[in-house]
């Protein structure tokens, strides 16, 4: 089966990103295909490169980066939600005249259309939020 995963909350504040990650991992282990993981609302905050969580706890951003790298996952961060919350890639930094970018490896910034496309192209869309 082809899954699209929607993550609506940021790292640590809510369990949503953790649950989505565990679900995604389990789906891959079962041989399913993950069409896309889409980050919306505060979910875009999972994509910051700058977090330094305590060493004795999971690194949520890194979890996603590593899972994406291992399985070639498409991790998409909504551009509108990202702009609101200050998550930028290099292009956005230049376009918006900011002095830094902070998008973590494995993530890409794109439009909400990617979420709708995920819903259309996938067999199942699962929402993780608050």
């Amino acid at each position: 089966m082809k899954f699209t995963i929607l993550v609506n909350e940021g790292p640590y504040q809510h369990q949503a990103s953790d649950t989505a990650y565990q679900f995604t991992k389990a789906a891959l282990e079962k041989g399913h295909e993950i069409f896309r993981v889409f980050f919306y609302n505060d979910g875009v905050n999972n994509a910051t490169r700058l977090s330094v969580p305590p060493q004795d706890d999971r690194n949520i951003t890194q979890n996603w980066t590593e899972l994406a790298e291992k399985h070639g996952l498409d991790l998409v961060v909504c551009i509108a939600a990202a702009q609101r919350r200050g998550i930028l890639d290099e292009d956005e930094m230049k376009r918006q005249g900011k002095d830094a970018h902070n998008l973590a490896p494995g993530f890409r910034i794109s439009g909400l259309g990617q979420l709708i496309e995920g819903g259309i192209q996938s067999d199942r869309l699962v929402v993780f939020g608050d």
Binding site: M1, Q15, T19, F23, A26, A27, K30, V126, G129
Partner: protein, 102 residues
Amino acid sequence: MSMLHIVNKSPFERNALDACLRLAKSGSSLLLIEDAVYAAMKGTTVSDKVAAAMKDMKVYVLGADLKARGVGEEKLMEGIDVVDYAGFVDLVAEHDNNQSWL
């Protein structure tokens, strides 16, 4: 169309479970995850409501979230199946559609 309803907030904190039970079709399934696992416990003020729902819905609870919260399986109501993340994936795949009640 078979539906899997996913509830993740505690029934003592939010009305998501109430809304779900009000709007879930008979014959659909309910999976309790994250803080919603407390709804699977016996002897609470929502136990009767959940037990009544179980007459026409199959109810599942995510074991990892029970364990995290120290809720032993002996505290659960009869008839609720404990699943792991692999089971969660199976439930989503096996039902035609799923709905998260946030």
